[in-house]
Subunit: 106 residues, 2 copies
């Protein structure tokens, strides 16, 4: 189990990818078929990214889709728990539950 360090938000991450390539929002937004301002907000974590958006982003930037999704969903959960006292414990319990479910279905 290893720690790729991963402490940039989803939005920051895809913004970085875009800036590395010197592309304007306009271009990427067009490829994604969404409004420039919507993409701006996604990069600032002010709007959700749909499954479809995530998929297209992974194609555009030639990165692993599953990895991008992990970044996105882990972010959402993080924000959900950020104000909770017992955030870490909640995650641990959730992990047990997921393992339990996976085991059941197998």
């Amino acid at each position: 189990m290893m720690s790729k360090k991963n402490n940039t938000s989803f939005g920051e991450y895809i913004r970085q990818l875009r800036e590395d390539r010197n592309l304007p929002l306009r271009k990427i937004a067009a490829e994604l078929d969404i409004d420039t301002s919507t993409l701006s907000k996604i990069e600032k974590n002010e709007r959700n990214a749909s499954e479809q958006i995530i998929e297209k982003l992974s194609e555009i930037f030639a990165i692993d889709k599953a990895d991008l999704k992990v970044r996105y969903l882990s972010d959402k959960i993080t924000y959900q728990l950020l104000d909770e006292e017992d955030g870490i414990e909640i995650l641990k319990v959730a992990e047990q539950k997921i393992k339990y479910h996976k085991q059941q279905q197998a």
Copy 2:
């Protein structure tokens, strides 16, 4: 860090508490100031339980509120990730992120 086993859902759990005391939905719902049918659905994990409901439930059943909240929120996250391939990894990454945030604010 230890594993109280915890593999009953929030709904099942509070239903169990109620049934242990031989109380009808009607009574508890009245104390919670919600409809009987709403409580029925909460017990079947078909409706959300608000913060307020969780607090009152902890009072009614004389259990720890924080613990009940952990059960509730871990459940929600579990359901969110149940269909995801990488649920466990998502949780691990979220954990790192939360720890990072906590560390920053300290």
